[in-house]
């Protein structure tokens, strides 16, 4: 499956997803309460040490931050403009630390384990009128059809390239959406033909 998970056998990989979520919530709140730049940097170094200790490595840690460098640059510029550079550095360091912490959860937990953990969580929602089986089905369908839609988008772009239209988002989006909507009836039929009953499930 396409996901951000990295296989491994560290203590974090072995921890239950629910426990990791709680630990992340606690650590994230802690980071928010830290008073100044030196404290944030100390915590960031500690988080980096966990990356090293779990075998994820510092390159992986860097990969967590790389995609948001542009956002950080814009934010930093805005911070300098609004509040001065020291405040800017403090906020950027805090965001970076939070991202690294959250990365520890995402990198060491399979999507399927997250889904399983959530399905247990959904049972709690039943009294609120939410149907866990419908949520599970929606999640499974989305995971199943993301690659299918990516493939359809690729096919349509390929077809429009012949006509020189592959750069036109309109010429690509309309056929992709029309195909997707036409598929949805067939998929719903297929689900019900296999005995799924949304009212009984």
């Amino acid at each position: 499956m396409f996901e951000l998970y990295r296989p491994g056998n560290s203590f974090l990989h072995a921890m239950r997803p629910g426990a990791k979520l709680l630990a992340l919530a606690a650590a994230g709140t802690g980071v928010f309460l830290l008073p100044g730049l030196p404290a944030i940097i100390a915590v960031m170094l500690a988080v980096l040490a966990i990356y090293a200790a779990t075998g994820l490595g510092l390159a992986t840690a860097w990969a967590q931050l790389r995609p948001v460098l542009l956002v950080f640059a814009i934010l930093f510029a805005a911070q300098v403009f609004i509040a001065g550079w020291l405040t800017g550095a403090f906020f950027i360091a805090r965001f970076a630390t939070l991202l690294l912490l959250a990365g520890l959860l995402t990198l060491t937990t399979r999507v399927s384990d997250m889904v399983a953990a959530m399905e247990i969580g959904f049972q709690v929602l039943r009294p609120l009128g939410l149907n866990p089986s419908k949520i599970s089905l929606a999640l499974a369908l989305a995971l199943r059809f993301i690659p299918v839609l990516a493939q359809i988008t690729g096919e349509v772009r390929e077809a429009q390239r012949v006509r020189g239209l592959d750069g036109s988002i309109i010429a690509v989006a309309i056929p992709v959406i029309v195909r997707t909507l036409r598929m949805s009836d067939a998929i719903a039929d297929a689900i019900e033909a296999r005995g799924y009953n949304p009212d009984k499930a």
Binding site: A140, P147, A193, G195, Y196
Partner: protein, 230 residues
């Protein structure tokens, strides 16, 4: 009458103002039944009525005495449906999860789901892909996975809606072989005349009526003549 006998009794159906089936009555008790006809002839509507995906406007459809309108749930258990495009039929991301879906809906036990999934994947040479994303299978493997997901539910009748239309020759042959090897009654809607050459009975639809209902050779002869306007 056995539990897999399919009966249409005076069935008519329309989509809006367009009639798609006109007063169809027949009894199907053979093991291999083909349904052919031009696009829009009513053959897909006919197929969908066998497992209650569509209910007739007039008349009744029953499977081994179970009325599709009254005993929908029991009919779905008895009749499996394999669609044209396996990409629309495979609804779970991982191969084994998809095979298990129908059995979970029918409340099979965990142990039973486990055993039957393994057995079915071995039967179609998919055991090596058990925990792989379904997306990565070939077209033919996807159709075999779709068939697996239906077979594990122990249907007595399986309806196939153009199962080989989207496949290349090699995959067509694999699916044809899979259909041939089934113990169950199979009703196959198709344009692929090679696929049905050895079937027990061929029904030809034309504009919502039955044009021919015979053994493959005479039925297909009538079909070709009608289509070429001879």
């Amino acid at each position: 009458m056995t539990s897999s006998t399919i009966t249409f009794d005076g069935v008519s159906h329309a989509f809006g103002d367009t009639p798609v089936l006109r007063d169809i009555s027949l009894t199907l008790a053979e093991k291999r039944i083909a349904v052919v006809g031009a696009n829009g002839s009513g053959k897909s509507t006919f197929a969908r009525m066998i497992n209650g995906l569509l209910l007739p406007d007039q008349g009744a459809v029953s499977i081994g005495g179970l009325d599709t309108a009254k005993d929908g749930k029991a009919v779905r258990r008895r009749v499996g449906f394999v669609f044209q495009n396996p990409d629309n039929q495979i609804v779970f991301p991982i191969v084994e999860e998809d095979v298990a879906f129908g059995m979970k809906n029918l409340k099979f036990s965990k142990a039973e789901i486990e055993t039957k999934t393994g057995k079915m994947l071995r039967r179609y040479g998919l055991e090596g892909h058990r925990s792989h994303p379904a997306h990565l299978l070939s077209g033919g493997q996807k159709q075999l996975l779709a068939i697996s997901g239906v077979l594990v539910m122990d249907p007595e009748v399986i309806v196939f809606d153009e199962p080989t239309t989207l496949l290349d020759l090699r995959n067509k042959l694999r699916v044809a072989e899979a259909i041939e090897a089934l113990e169950q009654t199979a009703v196959v809607v198709t344009h692929d005349l090679d696929l049905i050459a050895d079937f027990d009975r061929v029904i030809v639809f034309d504009e919502g009526r039955i044009l021919a209902d015979d053994a493959p050779t005479p039925a297909l002869k009538a079909y070709v003549e009608a289509m070429s306007g001879v």
